[in-house]
Assembly symmetry: C2
Homo-oligomer: 426 residues x 2
Amino acid sequence: VSMATAPVAALVAVGNELLYGQTVDTNAAWIGRSLAALGVELRRKFTVADDAAEIRTAVRRAMEDTDLVLVSGGLGPTRDDLTKEAVAGLLGRELHLDDALLTALAERFRARGYGRLPAPNRTQAEVPNGAIVLRNEHGTAPGLGLEADSCLIVLLPGVPRELRGIFEGELTDLLRTRFAQQMRPTHHRVIHTTGVAESRLAELVEPLLPEDMGPVGLAFLPDLKGVDLRLTAKGVGDEEAAQWLDRIERALEPAVGKWRFEAESGDVVESLQEALLSKGMTVATAESCTGGLVAKRITDRSGSSEVFVGGVVAYSNLVKVAELGVSADDIEEHGAVSEPVARQMAVGVKERLGASAGIGVTGIAGPGGGSPEKPVGTVWIAIAVGDAVDARLINLPGDRNAVRERAAQTVLGWLYRRIATEDSGA
Amino acid sequence: VSMATAPVAALVAVGNELLYGQTVDTNAAWIGRSLAALGVELRRKFTVADDAAEIRTAVRRAMEDTDLVLVSGGLGPTRDDLTKEAVAGLLGRELHLDDALLTALAERFRARGYGRLPAPNRTQAEVPNGAIVLRNEHGTAPGLGLEADSCLIVLLPGVPRELRGIFEGELTDLLRTRFAQQMRPTHHRVIHTTGVAESRLAELVEPLLPEDMGPVGLAFLPDLKGVDLRLTAKGVGDEEAAQWLDRIERALEPAVGKWRFEAESGDVVESLQEALLSKGMTVATAESCTGGLVAKRITDRSGSSEVFVGGVVAYSNLVKVAELGVSADDIEEHGAVSEPVARQMAVGVKERLGASAGIGVTGIAGPGGGSPEKPVGTVWIAIAVGDAVDARLINLPGDRNAVRERAAQTVLGWLYRRIATEDSGA
């Protein structure tokens, strides 16, 4: 099957804060995902400072061999926002005041209780001659599309919510029109796992990979929450891609099955939520070292109120005793980070809050509080389901944040597998 | 004062996942910060796919006009890890097996209970001829330093903990030795604010800026937690930089004072923690829509056990009544998202958990649950301090995550200002 090449894009992210490191560039990942989903290949990314010369050089380089250049950041109302002027200069376009934009801006400020448009925002109604204006429903800087040298250059604000709103709105329509004949979605399949190390998973997976992978590439993506295996099929049609992905996914199943969970979001909480819903169960959380993170993870998802009743963050021992019914003697004898305390937390919160399952987490997240017997990273987790309660000791590497994230993920993954296999007795 | 130019660096981040967007590149921000702190200027960043030709091209371009090129990612044990081979190829270096590395790797796996070194990891002991090996205490891929064309090229694993460990360890020593005469720290000063919009702040700040900003640049960095103003002084010595930064900071004080908090981490929880400590106070949290996020924010910081006793995540109304003593009649009459419920949550958790201050948050985070009277983003927050209790209605823009983050930040900032000004009666 021979096909046209997919449109190729480059991204230029503008902002001192991205180079000096005050800000993590979350836009890049989102844009990459969104372009891939549309069938546009993001091939390169440049990050440059708030400097007109640097912006011009990067945009000029980004235009080489590409069909689309997205430029993010530097469209704000303040004096360090230089993108619009720099790109207009590079392309030899004058700026003019757009009356419709000015009216909309003034209206926006009125609606928010400002008497008048702040002076710095007025420059945001200036657009380069010939630009397509892309509506920004979440902020004051519109997106701007410019055609030059058979390349479409699009300027977007750096604020993630604004960038995403414009992209999903008028920019998607523009790209669909502009690249209609060329768009070629890349096909991804992601296998989520949690509870197994990357190198162990690689060792299990490698021998199962077919000699001929066809158009499919494989990547291991580890983070604090587990390891994703991403299969990517490029340059083939939908059906052929699906066949290849199916074949390779089947080949890997014996290696990944034990740790796998299926959730569109990649979040094991989605799987847990579905498992609880399908069994008509609810959960409550009792947390010490994770300090609310497990409850936060569960409630990050909308619809969580159907399966989550609530939780207790029992940071002090007094709260463990008074609010969860943990035995003060057991705390005295075994310590707050111990098997009996974790078990009593899980059972206590389940009973007190009237849920059908309870989670208990108590551990040493660090950096202080460790001892030779119980070093930083020592965590007891427990789950109570019906009349049964189980506890596990886990030793987690990493700093405070890593220990907390890993502890939360481990107990959520454990409860998910427990609930999902409840009927089969596994 | 005339000085040598600071060393200039470029970063090449390798990984399909960074372009396809499965992973957010948190390394880049960290590296930018760390280089700036050392006095190295990160001027550009390139992001490329797991493709040997793309890696070679980017590294070659990155070497132009720079003293240092850092390459992150692609050093793992799996078949999509191509960085080492690609860069060795570009520089014309053969790979050889490093016996010391191989022994250390085998030992590491033995210590973790593996009988033998997994085959894929063996390739991680191969190093390009002439490379400086930089120890990785957190993983299996060492850092590698290579000199070519008066540029130092350093390969680092992409896993953040490993990259950071190597950077802070042997790489910092190497950079200090290599660039001893040239290092020129950039001077930053960051003014943190919370509770005021960027455009409003800009309007207040602009008229106060001196005509002559000297070597100082100003940037506004807004996020869900507030707006940071970053002042940057470049190209001058320590003393001169400090004088300029002092002068401009003083000029801005009348505009920012009301919303400012001082915390090295930029986290208002640091300020809250210090204020509570200095007054000998403790806090407890009662959360509905934030679902544990406020408690999580507080316990993100080590040492939080001195000021935080615990919290209740009262997601269901039953838990609000049973665990916090909220009046079921008030829930019936005013709804769960209402002033009396927020007040009773703050007071209830303070009393039940024996803290000197209580936080209550109840709202509609969305996407569901909104109504014309109480749309998504409607949040009641309350703080109880001693015998006093205050409540506020806030209307927050954004999606579920934004509403939750903003609600948590607003109540934490409010309690901080309340506690910090407690004595003065403000």
